[in-house]
Amino acid sequence: MSQFLAVFIDALRLLKAKALFWITLAISVLAAVLYFSIGFNEEGITLFFGVETWENEFIRAGSPLAEMFYLGIFSMVMVNIWLSWVAVILALVTCAPVFPSFMQEGSAGTVLCKPIGRLKLFVFKYLSGLLFAFLQTSIFCLIVFFAIRFRVGTWNPSVFWAVPLIVLMFSYLWSILVTVGVRTKSVMASLLAALLVWGAAWISKVTEEYIYMAAEMGELPTGDGTMRLSDEEQQNFREGYALYSLPYKVLPKTTDTINLLQRYITVEGEREFSMTQLIGAMSGFGSEEDEVTEAALKRHSPVYIIGTSLAFEFVVLGFGAWMFVRRDF
């Protein structure tokens, strides 16, 4: 335990010394305060602590959709854009040198000569690398937790689901960063590899959705709506689905892991969060849930999304650990 503590404290000190960590934290706090500035009155939604009002008949003070709207902003904007994109990139940049600099001459020797197994050391260093994402997300969620209580009047601990989900999503990319770092000892190569896999994962997700829509719904999205497919075209997409969705199946599901948050957060402690209901209300069309679209959005189970992503992570990490254990320093 003392060995893990030593590695863990060292990781904390590393973060403390990194300017990027503090910059990211400052922006996170600012984003959380901006979130806190959103409120409700009788006419609709207020922005910047009541400076601006956006009239909306469905979302206003005391309306059932107010909390859902507030949670929607949290999951779609704060988590989906800030925490899962910008903050993750900054976390990757900050953590990228951890393994390459550890493996420089004169550095690894001071640690490897201690009575600690290489595999254990690898795992400890890997886990402590998740601290950045964990700390950033935890602080952010804590502010959001209090903001919801103040603005909507309910304590909603389900927002803390963002912490494990963001850390999990970061861990997929961190495993690539670590493995390529061990192989090449290059910060730039490991960073590029992680970004490349992340990009590939995102493209595979978009492709899978596109093929799924065509194969199952017989529709293809176009610039001005959707295009209806013939039965023959739909059949072709059905036959090609297994092949075209293969990259999606194999690669880590970064976007879907984050989107799980919308399934886990609850409204008023019991109702499930509904994306289609919220979008309908915000666009003024009504507050009914689109069950078909909801079903399509939730077609992959959390076990499938997390399980296949973790399988990818374990394979990559296993390779990294194998190299780390076997190489000479």
């Binding site: 003392s2 001459e105 020797g109 001071t110």
Partner: protein
């Protein structure tokens, strides 16, 4: 020889076709200062790294502190300062020692007290809470030494410990090594600075091209190469010179070089000179320095390789 701290039967390390250690065999007694000498690239660091599991040997048969080499738990009784030691710049001297203690499983309270003590010993107490990034090379080396001792090791490996350290710092490191010996620790010093090792080591091995070419106590190595120098008043007479050269003794002008284990072996030469009436001006016992022994051993190894 007393109980051994290191007992290597065979140690071999190859990187592809390149042989870094060509079957090294070595014995280091407990409680002594052992100096491993060799030119750059001889394989000194690879040998130490192999003993400490930093490098995986191709073939290894031997023991470290009574356990097989590679036994992880034994490393808790070992201290190590690598060549070009690098510690994170964001840590202070005190934190570096504490980090090292944590990895060596030293309890926190004990580590804290030891860190204070060690910082005093290496003369870094005043700068203990400054970041490593602000330290000079010498200061880093001192902190490196302190972290190597935080687990109170039975054996300490120091790889080029005085590299980049100023003369004053070198003296202090030497005193520290002597202190470690007084405390009963075995100290294994890797160096290419012969003078320094000669001053502090009890026993020495010379390494060249991945092999130990000579080993023994400093006394044994330098004594084995003893010679006497006899100077005559004027050139050595031709007849005497001829006789001496026939005996394999070299003569140059007024100087005769006699390789001999003891003074009694020089007596026949003196008698010969007296017999020819040549006055003897000076007789010196010329003791080889470690540098002479080193150069001779390394050059011989080079010659054999060619």
């Amino acid at each position: 020889m007393s109980e051994l701290a290191i007992d290597i039967g065979t140690l071999r390390k190859c990187y592809g076709r390149f042989v870094a250690l060509a079957g090294v065999s070595l014995a280091v007694p407990k409680g002594e200062v052992f100096g491993l000498l060799g030119p750059n690239g001889a394989g000194k660091s690879t040998l130490v790294k192999s003993l400490l599991t930093i490098v995986r040997p191709t073939r290894c048969d031997g023991s470290l502190l009574g356990q097989r080499i590679g036994h992880r738990k034994t490393l808790a009784r070992v201290g190590y300062l690598p060549e070009h030691a690098r510690f994170p710049d964001y840590l202070t001297g005190r934190q570096i020692i504490s980090y090292s203690a944590g990895l060596a499983k030293v309890p926190r309270r004990v580590a804290k007290a030891r860190a204070e003590h060690l910082l005093e010993i290496v003369g870094m107490a005043e700068w203990a809470d400054r970041k490593n990034g602000t330290y000079s090379k010498g200061m880093r080396q001192r902190v490196g030494l302190a972290q190597a001792l935080v687990n109170e090791p039975e054996i300490v490996f120091l790889d080029e410990p005085t590299d980049g350290v100023d003369p004053e710092g070198r003296v202090e490191i030497r005193k520290l090594i002597e202190r470690m010996r007084e405390e009963g620790r075995t100290v294994f010093v890797n160096s290419h600075l012969l003078g320094e090792v000669e001053q502090v080591a009890d026993r020495v091995a010379i390494m060249a091209r991945g092999a130990i070419v000579k080993q023994g106590t400093v006394e044994e190595l330098t004594h084995a190469e003893n010679r006497y120098e006899i100077k005559t008043l004027g050139p050595v007479p031709v007849e005497a010179r001829k006789t001496l050269e026939e005996e394999g003794i070299s003569v140059a002008g007024d100087t005769i070089h006699v390789h001999a284990e003891g003074a009694e072996q020089v007596q026949p030469v003196i008698d010969l000179l007296r017999g020819t009436g040549s006055p003897i001006r000076q007789i010196n016992e010329v003791r080889s320095t470690l540098e002479d022994v080193f150069m001779e051993a390394v050059n011989r190894q080079k010659g054999e390789a060619v």
